[in-house]
Symmetry: C2
Subunit: 334 residues, 2 copies
């Protein structure tokens, strides 16, 4: 058991921070399309609006937050480079954002990270530093790099600029789609969901905000239920992007602004992913399909309503697909 | 050897027909997004603008032409229904367009058509009538249905309204992307490429128009080279949507307006398809990836230029992917 650290309100991003982020990243990030599918609407019994962050640069919403944080640095700090820890998409996003700004990036990567995501980080020109897959090893490795270089640490989600950047996805979604009743996003460390909640609670907003989480990595669900930031659960899920835990900033935001966290089984997540490939014709990674899985498995909450879904990423190893599909078809209960 | 039938100019669609089609289908069809990928630009050595007709309703551009032709019928003809022949996407497109208009549709389907496309046709409520996989059997079966019902035949490409409808994809692409130098589309029966050529040659246009064709179904290439409409070649390609031959209308348009047809190997088509999945994060069927394959295999023609590519469809059986990928990786020469 640990106490939830208290984050001063001044260290949390506000809606104005999201607006500033939107202007800052506009020269670099894609305004991603919002797609519809009559077939998926019929299946879910509600009106679904899919914000395609799998079509964002580096294939994930992570580019928004990383880009905002990297371009928010003053020139003095920027010149000493950036360090981060990431099992994947955030690392690639930092690598690309630093390349665009012309500064050095080092990414601490735990053993077991997907090869496709490692290749992306290196492809964008960042230095990859491997370490063991524990939080302690990651922190220690990052600390050494920071001491060596004087670089700035950009945490994947416990960072106000990162959270504000992630909020720009929902900002665009809500501007494009009038009168949504609810919006859902996956929750791992909670950066995307926190940013989404800030945008959804903007003046004139006030729509429901739901997180979607694999049942094998249900720490955010448990944290909100027990009202303390739980960081000692072991994750077991195919969603490699959702194995992180909430951090002080994301916990502080979500306990105030999220309506709740909906849990889904891995097999239902892979089934939802396949539906997105077959019906929406977009490539979504398992972590990116969790919100659709939640709408389908918690149907009664959303039936007849207008629902926004953030498809968070599309970085999946195509050679691993047959095994994923086989797992889903043998394990689905519904 | 056969003579190319002469089509009176009055039976060919003009740019005005495309504008009328755009207005007619606007309540029903998606305005599909145009996507970019820095990685694919770097690979091709040119600036690529992908018009995502795989994200169109029924998963293919075919909905544009079918919708235009079905809604162009007067009420008297419409009330007697529509008959068509199709191995797939056009059949599904006619089925959906007729459902939207509230009229009957019968689709003649040859043996060997992909199961995923058959299921789509039936899912949209059309009557499926099977026949042998010869042109003669398809024509005879359609003739019987027409005699029985008094329905209107809507040919998949040898139809001015269908061609005009297909031209709306390039119309949207050219309106969204200024100053393209060239646009490429796959060619099977030639409906999409003909419509594309009409839009590309509109006043103020005048950009290059290239067809992309599998080397195993190179009848359009041969037809333009020999300046006669060749319809007796046997197709052997993974691109099930591109096995048709040109018809009088599409031949007449393409011999005047296409800069040429670029040929590509099946293995290179599947490789391009995989690149689109991995880099653009969209699901494209083999037939839909032929134009990117052509840009990559005929690099010198496009290097340094601004190029539009129509991704024509996304209806692919995911369970067949491992076999497709294995074929491509063992057969690629480049």
């Amino acid at each position: 058991m640990e106490e939830s650290p208290i984050v001063p309100a001044a260290d949390l991003p506000m809606f104005a921070s999201v607006l500033i982020a939107a202007a800052r990243i506009a020269p670099h990030a894609h305004v991603t399309p919002v797609l519809r599918s009559h077939a998926l609407d019929a299946l879910a019994g509600c009106e679904l609006h899919f914000k395609c962050e799998n079509l964002q640069r580096v294939g994930a919403f992570k580019f928004r937050g990383a880009c905002n944080a990297v371009f928010a640095l003053d020139d003095g700090h920027a010149s000493r480079g950036v360090v981060t820890q990431s099992s994947g998409n955030h690392g690639a996003a930092i690598a690309l954002a630093c390349r665009l700004r012309g500064i050095a990036a080092s990414v601490v990567v735990p053993q077991g990270a997907p090869a496709i995501k490692l290749a992306a980080i290196e492809g964008y020109g960042a230095r990859v530093v491997r370490c063991e897959a524990t939080m302690a090893a990651r922190d220690a490795t990052a600390a050494i790099l920071l001491a060596e270089t004087g670089a700035t640490l950009i945490h994947p989600f416990d960072n106000a600029d990162v959270i504000a950047g992630q909020g720009t996805a929902a900002l665009e979604l809500l501007r494009e789609c009038d009168a949504l009743d609810a919006v859902l996003a996956p929750v791992g460390g909670g950066g995307l969901l926190s940013g989404t909640a800030i945008s959804a609670h903007a003046p004139g907003g006030g729509i429901e905000v739901w997180g979607a989480e694999p049942i094998g990595a249900a720490d955010a669900h448990a944290s909100l239920r027990e009202d303390r930031c739980i960081t000692d659960m072991t994750a077991q899920t195919v969603c490699d992007g959702l194995r992180g835990h909430l951090a002080p900033r994301t916990f502080a935001i979500l306990r105030e602004r999220a309506n709740g966290i909906l849990l889904v089984e891995d097999a239902d997540i892979v089934h939802a992913m396949r539906l997105l490939w077959e019906r929406l014709k977009v490539v979504v990674e398992p972590s990116g399909a969790v919100a659709l899985a939640a709408v389908l498995q918690h149907r009664e909450r959303f039936v007849g309503r207008r629902v926004g879904i953030i498809l968070s990423g599309g970085n999946v190893d195509l050679d691993a697909l047959p095994a994923l599909f086989a797992m889903a078809s043998s394990n689905r209960k519904t």
